[in-house]
Amino acid sequence: MRNKLISMREAVAQYTWDGMQYAHGGALPVGTDSIAFGKEMLKQGRKDLNVISNCNTQQTNLMAAAGAIKRMEVGFAGLEVYGFANGLKRAVETGKTILEDYSNGSIPLRLLGGALNWPFVPATINIGSDEEWCCADRPDEYPCETKIPRIKDPYTGKECGAFSVLKPDLAAIHVTMADIYGNAIMLGTEWSRYELSRAAKKVVLQADFIVDTDCMRQYPNLVRIPDVVVDAVVYWPLGAWPQCSTGVYDSDEKEMFAMNAAL
């Protein structure tokens, strides 16, 4: 087993580059996300990013405001009860960021498809709505027949859609605790971090706590991200701030509003 613990600066320098397909997790607008990792990417000047987000978070809100996101696929683009994400909203309205809409259930399914190396994922959701017909990538095609193409179920003969699968270059995932080898425990909802950790070509964890591997042996069922899928681990307490890390810290209400107002 390899000790994968490295610094945040090193992790970003080694695993990110301009124009890459970058995914972050949990990608929950108020809950957990790898916000510290995203801030370090901006410090190192990463740009032209192609971002895969289950939901927008303060990470992508900041990146979009900084002009670093060229294109983004999302299930949800706001900040829930904290309101619209000002930075992302402006980047989309001015055409700086191309935003491709899916939904909160379809992004995880597409990640699962990538994780399993499936050619596509059957779509019973997102079809019959503008998530199917309206394609920001191919603005001249309407109704778009290539975003979620229709296929025939070979068993019933009924029609459904086919989602493309996702295999991001990197997933930066926030976890509650990890050991130095990359075994990780997430408290609260996993959201789509399980699928994401298997779909991405490389995985970097940022953990609120680094714990001994013996802790993992006490509750191996809780280790939903095992070391085998992880490339690097970064120790970064409060790494989801100003959002929350379930069971450890709550969202910072003042900072959530102040940060969004500044973007």
């Binding site: 949990g26 929950l28 607008p29 108020v30 809950g31 289950n54 939901c55 299930g75 949800f76 683009a77 706001g78 829930e80 009860v81 904290y82 619209f84 992302l88 909203k89 989309v92 309205e93 001015t94 935003l99 809409d101 899916y102 939904s103 909160n104 259930g105 379809s106 995880p108 399914l109 699962l112 019973t124 959701i125 997102n126 079809i127 019959g128 709505s129 503008d130 998530e131 309206c134 394609c135 603005p139 001249d140 309407y142 029609e159 459904c160 408290l187 609260g188 909802t189 996993e190 959201w191 789509s192 971090r193 699928e195 929350c244 379930t246 069971g247 709550d250 969202s251 209400e253 959530m256």
Partner: protein, 263 residues
């Protein structure tokens, strides 16, 4: 009695829920309506969030998100998005739900994605950028496709009640009649639109929403004035009973931070 229009809307929404139902509530005010039903008259209503947070009730006020500590603190189970939105919602298991809307049309189609000022994103012959970019579908698309029935909770304003929505984020009855069948949706479609002025329900054949009832402080005229299509009135149109003292007391215990009392 002293209550706000928002409180009446939440109570009327909550009255749509029955004991023993499996339900999912969106984030924000709709969540208060759902948990009010559980407290008030449906103790065996089983509720979960789209993040896969099960068995919890909000602690300390309106949760900031579907995943934050206010909704996670007393949960019995945490799973993930594919479980909640896929296995339970898109599969067709959920009995009832609430979603919100920025814009809605007479067939109950919901737009939460963007405002193109009364046009569609492609009316210029190609996709154009939205004037105002909104949050996108979130998990509402899965609910609209998969839930056996659901309620749409929305502030009653002319700009929101459009003849045709600019963008269909979550399909209602599409162009009316049996239009949902084209897409093999497993769910039954929206059962009611509950607003700050009254309740609309779909015609059983055409699926066009008509005025079913109005609130004690409202009137048919006021509702017609605030609806962007020529709203038909049910021959049995009636007045919704105002909240009882107990209903209101229960609501205010759920809505500790007074989100529904703001005028």
């Amino acid at each position: 009695m002293d209550y706000t229009r928002q409180e009446m809307m939440a109570i009327a929404t909550g009255r749509e829920f029955s004991d023993g139902e499996l339900a999912i509530f969106g984030v924000g005010l709709s969540m208060l309506a759902g948990f009010w039903a559980q407290k008030n008259h449906a103790p065996n209503l089983i509720a979960f969030t789209e993040g896969g947070v099960f068995g919890s009730t909000p602690v300390g006020g309106l949760p900031w998100g579907i995943e934050d500590n206010r909704i996670s603190a007393n949960a019995t189970s945490f799973t993930n998005a594919i479980d909640a939105l896929g296995c339970l919602v898109a599969s067709g298991r959920v009995d009832n739900a609430v979603i919100g809307a920025a814009q809605i049309d007479k067939f109950g189609n919901v737009n939460t994605t963007g405002i193109w000022s009364g046009e569609t994103p492609w009316s210029a012959g190609r996709y154009v950028l939205p004037k105002v970019r909104l949050n996108g579908s979130g998990g509402a698309n899965e609910i609209s496709v998969g839930a056996k029935k659901y309620v749409i909770m929305v502030t009653h304003e002319k700009k929101r009640f459009a003849d045709k929505v600019d963008y269909i984020s979550s399909p209602g009855y599409l162009n009316g009649g049996n239009d949902r069948e084209k897409h093999n949706f497993v769910g039954g479609g929206p059962a009611a639109i509950v607003t700050t002025l009254g309740i609309l329900r779909p015609d059983p054949v055409t699926k066009e929403f008509i005025l079913d009832s109005y609130f004690p402080f409202s009137s048919i005229e006021e509702i017609k004035e605030n609806t962007g299509w020529d709203l038909k009135i049910s021959p049995d149109v009636k007045v919704v009973p105002e909240p009882t003292e107990l209903e209101l007391a229960n609501l205010r215990e759920i809505d500790v931070t007074g989100s529904l009392r703001k005028k």
